[in-house]
Amino acid sequence: MDNLITITLVASLVGSVAVILFGRTASVAKWLALLVSLVPLALATYMLALIMMGSAPAGYGCAPVTGAGYAFHECHSWIPALGINVIFGLDGLSAPMFFLTTLLVTLGILFAWDETKRPNQFFGMLLAINVAVLGVFASLDLFLFYVFWELTLIPMAFLIGIWGGERRRYAAIKFFVFTFAASLVMLLGFMYLYFATGQRNFSFELIQAGAGALGLTAQRIIFLALFIGFATKFPVVPLHTWLPDAHVEAPTAGSVILAGVLLKLGAYGLIRIGLPLAPLGAKYFVPLMFVIAVLSMLYASIICLVQRDYKRLVAYSSIGTMGLVLLGIAASVQTGNPLGLVGANFMMLAHGFISPALFMLCGVLAHNLGTRDIPLMGGLADRLPRTSFWMIVFSMAGLGLPGLAAFVAEFQIYSATWQAFGWLVFIAMLYLIFSAAYYLWAAQRAFFGPFVERPEVDYHHVYDVKWFELASLVILFVFTLAYGVWPRLLTEILEAPARAVLAAVGGA
């Protein structure tokens, strides 16, 4: 079938509008949203399965764009005067992310099953994010990429601003303006590439063909401009300050999507665009990337250790994990060995399962207890056995317990780092110790130990996880476990694109 990607996007868009216009009551809105979200989920699963089996159709291109190396490639003319086309395509790098997005939107809708404030707009916004993020992962044209990249900001800003916590107004504007400004810098980089390569066409393929020939200074400037845009989305220190506020103030479904996929946009952009289109620049800035990555990992972890707010702890841990992803990318660029890139991608996916689950559990805690303050908790395992169980499970997953997905990723990234940077890897490995420390300590303080009655928290009306929350968690755990014990599911499709990216980097 042709144009599957467009169908997926259009289905989400139509569904989003339908939910906003026709979702008069909460129950109509949520059922409609759930059913609508299953369509892109099914299509994305189908496309991922075909890619994993190696039998995905190649699609069609439009001269001179051939679409080689991509599946489900489609090309529609958009602005011929500037050489801009609507080009979509998936490969091993983007298909798992594509699938993850649809999965998280569905689970987000499921998790927010008892949302009562403006439910039609809430679920409509979730579906709108689906459109925008899927568009980013599938785009193979720089202009189109940028359009979808910015589009992700609007529903997220509304989600934070309308349904968020106490400081939601500040968090929403900070998130919006900060990432908007950084994306504009990235846009200048795209423009530079467009004119400097002289292709008069914005497609990745054609620009990549001309990008290797650009001069050293040009490539460094381009990479820096692109890196600023991507690094803010990662986010890595020092461009990370929007994330704690945005994550903490967002409603749980919003945090799920924010942590699960929006953060991955930065890493994906760096791998897909930053590395192949400014290879000399990428190689030149490897030391910078290494320093920033390690700084993020350690700085974020240390801050986690002193957090009182559970959700804030999980938010900072995301920064640390994305630092690890950047480390893997830097290692691969340094050596030309795809192991780091594969590990980075694996981590993106693993974190995309684990972090949303942790945020969901924080949401459960906040909802049930009315607080996320760890010092106010204690011995919750007695009252909330299932919540405690899942929180421990996902904390273990987050710190990299073997058998679960994050371990595979961490192993690959650290191996690649050792190969690339030698003994410096031991500095990076401090992250393992810190992450274990903050996860376990927080869980221990909150769930184990003696149960302490506190006046601020109402323990008599608590309830454990509800069925819809449990369903979401179980599904995420299944994936975490599956990728943890059978990593081949993912690494098989990652290797070829990773090698292609590194070939573009190395060839320069």
Binding site: Y146, E150, F158, G161
Partner: protein
């Protein structure tokens, strides 16, 4: 039907003049305001279609001359011309006038509206004369025609103090700016004996020649010669700069936009400002292109200062009209970037931004007018919780605001993209030396930084509408005619954003036609 090109090119203006002249007459017979507006709309639509017929072939309208980017201009009685550049501006002026006229009947709340529509239409005729002028006197006459009509329109809320103040301020400042412009034009006549754009170009393409027997003028000003020639373009820049409300000529504009009736503010911000740009582009590109090296950095500095001042000042505003006024000043800074860069692609970006900006700006003011018909005021506090009181209006306003900021996939992003990319293109072109590369790249960076800043105050209004709770929960139904105007502007903003190819092609053609004329003028 075979009409000579002379008359055919004038046909749209003649239609509008005719309708505009008849309207006060008809209005004297106590006709309902809606009918008057309808008559004006018919006239505007006829003019619109006639203009479109010059660039697309519409069956039955073959008597309109056909224009191409590289073809010759269609000249009308040696005074006015028709090129794709002119047609683009004419379409913008007529479209803005349409939006304003459609939104006005219920907003104005008075019985005698014939003069109002007449003034709007005649002002549009003046704007079209400016765009289509072939020499400086025609340009000036058109400028004055349009300005005088708008002075009266600004004071149309006769019982309100701020409307009279706005009219007075506008009249005084406008007259001063016209005086500056005519002084510059008179100098051109004195130096060259002519007032055509060709004469202006001749003034500058002859190095160190004695022209007119009185003064020596030189191509390069930077070698220390104090020549009268400098005054020419400084005065013209100042005269038109007041119209466009560039910094430092912008102060009056904020008060004028705030005090005028909402629909008139929309007309001023989306129509008069573009007329100033038409004049500026014509004079500087047709007349002064040979000495671009003398004025382009200064124009770039003015553009950057305008962007910065406009956006930063808007941050403090709590009145929506003042915020929109400052934002329109900032948007003028972006358009001016096109002049500073001076390549065909940059000019196309400027023209494209003129089109998109006119729709957004007119739409925003018309939305204000629609809210005002139901007693909702112009300060941000009055708009709290609009998304619950008037969901469609809030949505439309949110779209316009996001488009101003340059969020894809709206029209504002498409045009800003072309503008900023033209700056990058000029900055990295091979052979561009230090100060120029710095200037062009600096323009792009200033553009994106100010766009990011602007998002702060645009988002503030969106937040007030969507996140804050309403102080009054009365649901508001938007009056039908203003709602139609808002819908048109909204659809245009979204459609041009999603499918920019058509308007972009028109802008590229218009830019190429202008540069064809530039090449002819310089030779």
């Amino acid at each position: 039907m075979n009409i000579s090109p002379d008359w055919a090119a004038l046909l749209p203006m003649l239609v509008l003049t005719g309708v505009g002249a008849l309207l006060p007459l008809i209005g004297a017979f106590r006709v309902r305001a809606g009918w008057l507006a309808g008559f004006a709309v018919i006239g505007l639509l006829v003019a619109f279609v006639l203009n479109i017929a010059t660039i697309w072939s519409i069956p039955g309208l073959d008597f309109m001359p056909h224009l191409t980017a590289s073809g010759p201009a269609v000249v009308s009685f040696e005074l006015l011309e028709l090129t794709p550049f002119v047609v683009l501006f004419d379409l913008v002026f007529i479209a803005v006038a349409l939006l304003v006229v459609i939104a006005s009947p219920k907003y104005l709340k008075r019985r005698h509206q014939g003069e109002y529509y007449s003034l709007l239409l005649l002002s549009t005729v003046g704007m079209m004369s400016v765009a289509g002028s072939r020499d400086l006197i025609t340009l000036f006459v058109g400028l004055e025609l349009s300005s005088f009509c708008t002075y009266a329109l600004a004071g149309f809320h006769k019982t309100r103090k701020d409307s009279s103040e706005a009219a007075m301020k506008y009249f005084l400042i406008g007259s001063i700016s016209s005086a500056l412009a005519i002084f510059g034009i008179s100098l051109v006549y004195g130096l060259t004996g002519g007032t055509t754009f060709d004469a202006l170009a001749t003034l500058w393409s002859n190095p160190l020649s004695t022209v007119g027997g009185t003064t020596t003028v030189g191509r390069s000003l930077l070698d220390g010669h104090f020549t009268i020639g400098v005054f020419v373009w400084v005065l013209l820049l100042a005269g038109f700069g007041y119209k466009i409300a560039l910094v430092p000529f912008h102060n009056y504009a904020v008060d004028v936009y705030e005090g005028s009736p909402d629909t008139v503010s929309g007309f001023l911000a989306a129509g008069s400002k573009q007329m100033g740009f038409a004049a500026l582009f014509k004079v500087f590109l047709l007349g002064l292109f040979a000495v671009k090296a003398n004025w382009d950095i200064m124009v770039a500095v003015i553009a950057v200062v305008t962007m910065v001042v406009g956006n930063v000042a808007a941050l403090r505003q709590t009145n929506i009209k003042r915020m929109l006024a400052y934002s329109s000043i900032a948007q003028a800074g972006y358009i001016l970037m096109a002049l500073a860069i001076g390549t065909p692609y940059a000019l196309a970006g400027g023209l494209f931004h003129i089109v998109t900006y006119s729709f957004m700006q007119a739409g925003a003011f018309v939305a204000l007018a629609a809210a005002a018909t139901w007693g909702i005021g112009e300060s941000m506090d009055d708009w709290k919780g609009m998304s619950k009181r008037a969901p469609f209006l809030a949505f439309a306003m949110a779209v316009f605001l996001l488009s101003f900021a340059g969020i894809p996939p709206l029209a504002g992003f498409a045009s800003k993209f072309v503008l900023f990319s033209s700056a990058i293109q000029a900055g990295i072109a091979p052979g561009v030396t230090g100060i120029y590369a710095f200037t062009y790249i600096g323009l792009a960076i200033a553009g994106i930084l100010t766009s990011a800043i602007s998002l702060v105050y645009y988002w503030r209004l969106i937040r007030v509408m969507y996140i804050e709770d309403e102080t009054e929960s009365r649901r508001v139904a938007v009056s039908s005619s203003a709602g139609i105007a808002v819908i048109i502007a909204l659809v245009a903003t979204i459609f041009i954003g999603l499918f920019p190819a058509a308007i972009l092609d028109l802008a590229l053609d218009a830019a190429r036609s202008m540069f064809t004329a530039v090449a002819l003028a310089g030779s």
